[in-house]
């Protein structure tokens, strides 16, 4: 097990050796992820870990996948999707073409959830979804769009609570273990690697979803990333954060209006 002192040194080594900068991530969560990784791989000291990371590229890849949290679900927080379809979709529909950025897309659950709702409201065909994540593992999995059946009972429940109009199974092809998303949903979604810490604006988007990603960053980094989102939105564009995240530390706070306080949906006004 490592402590906060070891953590700083370890992150410094990782930055120097591999050019991954985690120095502005939330320390508590990072410490927990690293200790979990060490437990799974039977490592006991910071020295063990550093040795393996430097000398074993396979371990380093696994390490990155493990410490970058990629846990999500379809239609997480149904009340959020309800608000999105009610308050934001009608506005987006007034555009001839819609660009949406799903930042920190994990394994694609959130992006596909959004695509399904866009489909049901007849907006999918004119929408381009840009889904990005720091983890190449996450991007590969997102592109495949294969999910274990075991979670689908919860997903279906969420889907109906969101106001889903069909049956969630209609959008997947399943065998006895897994379900794969219909290929139609891959046409308008572009999954790609993007590092919120180091990469810049790549496309103007009318809606940016970045839910439960900022919680892994400290205040300063949150502020930088929110500035990046601000720069990527047109006037009147929308930003959706996780339920317990907020814009309040940000220098761009004044430039946004709250559309839904509980669901953390904001609109850029200046």
């Amino acid at each position: 097990m490592i402590d906060f002192n070891d953590l700083d040194e370890l992150l410094f080594t990782i930055q120097k050796q591999f050019d991954y900068d985690f120095s502005e991530y939330s320390k508590a969560s990072m410490l927990r992820r690293i200790n979990r990784f060490m437990e799974i791989n039977s490592m006991t000291t910071a020295v063990d870990l550093q040795f393996e990371l430097i000398n074993n590229p396979k371990i380093f890849k696994e390490f990155i996948n493990e410490i970058v949290v990629n846990v999500s679900e379809f239609f997480r927080d149904p009340s959020f999707y309800q608000s999105l379809t009610k308050n934001i979709f009608p506005y987006l529909d007034s555009y001839p073409k819609i660009n949406i950025w799903s930042a920190g897309c994990s394994f694609g659950e959130e992006t596909y959830s959004l695509a399904i709702l866009l489909k049901e409201t007849g907006m999918y065909d004119k929408t381009r979804l840009y889904a990005t994540d720091i983890s190449s593992n996450a991007i590969e999995k997102s592109k495949k769009g294969i999910y274990p059946n075991i979670n689908f009972k919860d997903y279906s429940k969420n889907y109906f609570e969101c106001g889903g109009q069909a049956s969630l199974n209609n959008y997947f092809i399943s065998d006895e273990k897994n379900s794969i998303i219909n290929s139609d949903f891959k046409k308008n979604i572009l999954f790609s690697n993007h590092n919120l810490v180091t990469d810049g604006v790549f496309k103007e988007c009318q809606l940016i979803l970045c839910r439960n990603v900022l919680i892994y960053f400290n205040d300063e980094l949150q502020n930088k990333v929110l500035k990046l989102f601000y720069d990527s939105l047109p006037i009147h564009g929308f930003l959706a954060l996780g339920k317990k995240e907020s814009l309040r530390f940000s220098s761009v706070y004044e430039n946004f209006k709250e559309i839904d306080r509980n669901e953390k949906i904001y609109q850029k006004i200046k």
Partner: protein, 183 residues
């Protein structure tokens, strides 16, 4: 800081503890309760209504202040940072739970060491046992609810099973101890 863990059934005990504390009790209290996700529960509202405390469901990077009762939001793990703030995490369930009591106990203990007080109440699974042991190992204060009194004994029992030196107290004695030592 006092951190209280339990499952939904320990709600009444929590209410009794909060109402039994001296009016000038100002040490921050954090409540990590297992509950259903996706439902806006009235838990915070009831606490607000039935106690004199300011009750806050934690938001990410919130600064920890005295005199406030904080609750862990459902579907997030609750952690402590070095700079006296909370942070949240949506990583996988721990002991089938998010928030997990173990996660908060362990994270708080790493920061607060001997200044951390963990209390584990009634509950139906093993969550909290490992974390409470960690608090004890870092010289913090650890209390489990009297197994005779607890509605679901699994939780305090599991803690006792892996570490036998926790103080086992009923609600009344938990209140007395907190008032004596933290007021």
């Amino acid at each position: 800081m006092i951190i209280i863990g339990g499952s939904a059934g320990s709600f009444n005990t929590i209410l009794s503890i909060l109402n039994g504390l001296d009016k000038n009790f100002s040490v921050p209290i954090v409540i990590v309760l297992h509950r259903l996700k996706n439902y806006e529960s009235s838990f915070e509202d009831i606490l607000r209504h039935h106690t004199h405390y300011i009750v806050k469901e934690v938001e990410d990077k919130e600064i920890i202040k005295n005199g406030i009762v904080y609750t862990a939001p459902s579907n997030y793990h609750l952690l402590l940072e070095e700079n006296n703030t909370f942070s949240l995490d949506v990583s996988e369930l721990v002991n089938y739970s998010r928030p997990s009591i173990d996660v908060t106990f362990e994270s708080a203990s790493a920061i607060l060491k001997e200044k951390c007080c963990g209390i584990l109440l009634s509950g139906a699974n093993n969550d909290g046992a490992k974390g409470l042991k960690r608090i004890a190992e870092n010289n913090g204060t650890t209390i489990i609810q009297d197994c005779q009194e607890a509605e679901y004994k699994n939780m305090p029992n599991a803690a006792k099973l892996i570490y036998k030196y926790h103080q086992e107290l009923n609600t009344k004695n938990i209140i007395n101890k907190l008032n004596n030592e933290y007021c």
